[in-house]
């Protein structure tokens, strides 16, 4: 080996700095969470007591069972909706395809708690539909609270994952495969069952694990619409909140169990994705065919109903935001009162959202580019360790992350709790992966000889990075950064635990307003948030040049 390599150059310095940051803000908090899970709340000695308590009391372990039953149902439903939707959209001419694709992505990227909240508006105790049905027909609408409600909201929010995964896989199937099957005398149902389904099965599996993980970790939806139906994230949250000031060991133990489950799922997902054995690249992708008659009608009806259901929450929220209110009650007529109230009382939350979001995005971009670079171009033990740590956010549910950070940074000299910094840290940790992944993806497409030619022309490796590599990476970085941005401003699970009066953000305010039953202001805030999301999404499509999104 050359002596030169051992000197501390710019990149090894960067690597160490990033490692330091990661250890401080990810490894250390997580370790302290695990340790505190094994400590007795009063004596502080190591014990398995917290875990035993969890598995002994029905009230506690029931939440886990509940979580599992709801997530399993959601996953199955998401497959049943997402996979056929993808198949129909790929193989048939569907009217309004372009708009449908965008609507699917919007419904996926808007925060799930808005979905929960607007289903309450529609079908809740004093919801529009509920009132309508009981006033006119005296019919009792089935409750949107509890298990059913969570299922509804999650399914409509998460089926797009399956849809996107399966669409991607179908695009890679060469039409000759399907033609070969037809020439062998398969009818189209047999063809789907015997050829297409086996080919996309690994993809469906990978997508389902993603759905499962998301449903398991989400906190806002069951909190708003779950009522008595306790699931794990909610229980962790309420245990933690009720114990603040005291010991949070029990909440930590539950969080540990949760992280363990998600970690297993994550590993399973990686395994499935890596083993996706059919590496296909199609020269001639499946061409959409015309569809007509009864069959065409049914297919279109299915698609439109799904999309309508998925987008209803957004529409409801926008509509509600323009209703006239008196106090927190709706009165007949339209007005901009809700918006006035929002800007008067909650202007700070809007400011905070954009400000924190912006700061977080800048940090995310810098970190994302540097980490992508060192882990693809400067491979060594340290950089692969960093690469592994960047996977943490996939397995740590937002609310757990919130608790973790709060536990780790509530004492001097690391006193961050209550400040806006801790929220930004949470944002960065949770949403870095989007930018990181798309930066790494584009970097793989840039030939190292680009950098080498700049170096041979006399630019040092560091200057080369900024003058050539960084510039060429930009489209990928920005595309990822927009996804990070969209998910940052919609973040609830961690911020709900970390916020204080001064550091409230829009999503937190929407949540608290809903809890206070100020539906008008919540709707106005949601509309602002949705609008920001849609605009950002359009910018994303413009930058990335296509309507594909990679989560």
């Amino acid at each position: 080996m050359n002596k030169r390599q051992y000197k501390l150059d710019f990149w090894s310095l960067t690597t160490w700095v990033i490692m330091g940051v990661f250890v401080l803000f990810m490894v250390y908090p997580l370790m302290s969470l695990f340790i505190s899970a094994f400590k007795d709340p009063t004596t502080g000695v190591f014990t398995l007591g917290n875990f035993i308590k969890f598995f002994e009391k029905k009230y506690y372990y029931q939440s886990m069972l509940n979580s599992f039953s709801v997530t399993i149902c959601v996953t199955l439903l998401a497959i049943m909706i997402g996979a056929p939707l993808a198949y129909f959209m790929t193989s048939y001419h569907i009217k309004g395809k372009g708009i449908i694709e965008i609507l699917v992505i919007i419904s996926m990227l808007s925060p799930p708690f808005i979905g929960a909240y607007s289903w309450v508006l529609l079908g809740g105790r004093s919801g529009v539909i509920t009132k309508f049905l009981s006033d006119l027909f005296g019919v009792q609408m089935p409750s949107v609270y509890g298990f059913g409600g969570i299922l509804l909201v999650f399914t409509l929010k998460l089926y797009p994952f399956i849809y996107l995964y399966v669409s991607g896989a179908l695009k890679k199937i060469d039409v000759s495969l399907s033609e070969a099957a037809e020439s062998l005398g398969c009818n189209s149902y047999r063809k789907v069952i015997t050829i297409i389904l086996p080919l996309i099965l690994p993809t469906i599996l990978a997508g389902s694990l993603l759905v499962f993980m998301n449903a398991l970790a989400d906190f806002g939806t069951p909190m708003l619409i779950g009522e008595g139906y306790n699931v794990m994230p909610v229980l962790i949250y309420s245990e933690f909140i009720s114990e603040v000031g005291g010991q949070a060991n029990f909440a930590a133990a539950m969080a540990t169990i949760m992280v363990l489950i998600t970690a297993l799922l994550f590993i399973a997902q990686k395994y499935v994705v890596n083993r996706k054995s059919f590496t296909m690249s199609s020269l001639r992708p499946i061409q959409a065919k015309k569809i007509s008659g009864i069959k065409g009608l049914c297919v279109h009806a299915f698609i439109y109903i799904v999309i309508l259901l998925a987008i209803i929450p957004q529409l409801t929220v926008i509509y509600t935001s323009f209703l006239k209110t008196k106090g927190s009650m709706f009165v007949p007529g339209f007005s901009l009162r809700s918006y006035q109230t929002v800007f008067k009382n909650l202007g700070k939350a809007i400011m905070n959202t954009y400000l924190y979001g912006l700061i977080a995005i800048i940090i995310i971009i810098v970190l994302g580019m540097f980490i992508a670079y060192i882990s693809t171009r400067r491979k060594n033990i340290l950089t692969s360790a960093i690469d592994s740590i960047t996977m943490f956010p996939y397995i740590i549910p937002g609310s757990v992350l919130g608790i973790t950070l709060l536990l780790a940074f509530n004492k001097r000299p690391l006193l961050l709790s209550g400040s806006f910094l801790i929220i930004i840290i949470a944002y960065v940790i949770r949403r870095l992966p989007y930018t990181l992944r798309s930066s790494a993806a584009i970097l793989y497409q840039i030939s190292p000889s680009m950098e080498e030619s700049s170096i041979s022309l006399g630019y040092s490796p560091v200057r080369t990075f900024f003058k050539v590599t960084a510039v060429m990476m930009m489209p990928g970085v920005l595309a990822g950064a927009i996804l990070s941005w969209i998910t940052v401003i919609n973040e609830l699970s961690a911020s709900i635990i970390l916020y204080t009066g001064n550091t409230k953000t829009m999503s937190v305010s929407i949540y608290t307003e809903v809890i206070r039953a100020s539906y008008g202001t919540a709707a106005a805030l949601s509309t602002i948030l949705t609008l920001t999301t849609v605009i950002s999404l359009l910018v994303f499509f413009k930058i990335s040049g296509n309507k594909e999104i990679n989560l």
């Binding site: 050359n2 000889s449 680009m450 080498e452 700049s454 050539v468 060429m472």
Partner: protein, 372 residues
């Protein structure tokens, strides 16, 4: 300004895997030097060691008298042309060419002058405001060349720069490269595995195999007097025959397995007498001769200037493991051509053919030189 390159006993390892065990070569100032060899023999590796992108595990590389082992790549003042051109897609042609000059503290006027001149030399002035994506492969190649030489590098390194172009363009570009190199007069190390390209373009060629240099020499010399069987079969086609060498007072001669005798020029070393040898005859070194070796024509291919015949010899005459035995007949001077199945008599030209030791490791003709 241009320098000579001295590679002395360099070693390259990837982990435990030794790719270049011990390699020395001297490349003269201003010379067009080509590294030629089969895939995986270490050409790119050696080139990147000179460029500074690969570490050097042993030995030294010098530019003139300066050891450059520990000089960082960006301080070596090297012009490099890559296989995929590596043109910066976000810069125009002109900006690409100016990129390296920007570091070199030139006045605006000087910079413009130098850029204009080089654009002229490589004939891309007309495209200077275009973005690279709007250029053809050949044009991109020219930009890459211009960008590399405009900085007046000490040496110019090229790794298979033509391999992405189609056959016709390849021929056109190789003379363009050659012209530009001579015009600028810069020491050039060129990597290729295309032997025709190497023969056409180089001042000298180093033929490599498994990280070891087999022969260094002028193109015609390597072709005519290869030092061993690897070189003789890698460059051009050679037909190999089993034979025996005899040297006595009357002179030296060789015999083929069927007893056919051929008088040889008198520059063979005495101690090899009565030893089995390998006789190497190139397809164009046969001629029709009523007293020649009897062969049968297996197939023929018409190639315009030549007719190429695939031949069938009697059992045991030829060295085993060869794909074809060929004879190419120059149509310009042929009385008639022959048909498949016909039997003809061919005599090898003793002044042209080469004879090797039986293991193929050494050429017994006195003029064959390992390093030239």
């Amino acid at each position: 300004m241009s320098v000579s390159i001295n590679v002395e006993n360099v070693i390259k390892k990837y982990g435990e895997n030794v790719v270049i065990p011990d390699l020395s070569v001297e490349i003269k100032n201003g010379e067009f030097f080509t590294l030629l060899g089969p895939s995986g023999c270490g050409k790119t590796t050696l080139l990147r060691m000179i460029a500074g992108f690969n570490t050097i595990e042993g030995g030294t590389i010098k530019f003139d008298d300066t050891v450059i082992n520990d000089i960082a790549a960006h301080k070596r003042n090297i012009g490099m042309v890559f296989q995929n051109y590596a043109i910066f897609p976000h810069l125009t042609v002109r900006q690409n060419v100016e990129y390296g000059l920007k570091l070199r503290k030139l006045s605006k006027v000087d910079m413009k002058e130098r850029t204009d001149k080089i654009l002229e030399v490589v004939k891309i002035t007309a495209y200077q405001e275009r973005l690279p994506e709007k250029l053809s492969g050949g044009q991109q190649q020219r930009v890459a060349l211009a960008r590399a030489i405009v900085i007046h590098p000490s040496v110019l390194l090229m790794d298979e720069p033509l391999s992405n172009l189609d056959a016709k363009l390849r021929v056109e570009m190789r003379s363009a490269i050659r012209d530009v190199q001579k015009k600028v007069g810069i020491t050039t190390v060129y990597v290729t595995h295309d032997q025709e390209e190497a023969l056409a373009i180089s001042d000298r060629i180093a033929v490599m195999k498994d990280g070891v240099i087999q022969q260094i020499g002028k193109p015609h010399h390597i072709y005519e007097r290869p030092t061993n069987i690897f070189v003789s079969t890698f460059i051009g086609h050679s037909n190999l025959f089993e034979g025996v060498l005899y040297i006595n007072e009357q002179g030296s001669y060789i015999t083929f397995q069927n007893g056919y005798k051929l008088q040889m020029p008198n520059n063979l070393s005495k101690e090899m007498t009565q030893k089995p040898i390998i006789i190497s005859v190139r397809p164009e070194e046969f001629s029709i001769d009523p007293k020649g070796l009897l062969v049968k024509i297996k197939s023929r291919t018409f190639l315009g200037k030549y007719v190429n015949y695939e031949l069938e010899f009697a059992e045991g005459m030829i060295k085993t493991g060869q794909s074809t035995i060929e004879f190419s007949q120059d149509i310009g001077h042929a009385e008639k051509t022959y048909e498949v199945g016909e039997e003809i008599r061919l005599a090898p030209n003793p002044n042209k053919i080469n004879i090797f030791t039986q293991d193929g490791s050494r050429n017994l003709m006195g003029e064959a030189k390992l390093y030239e």
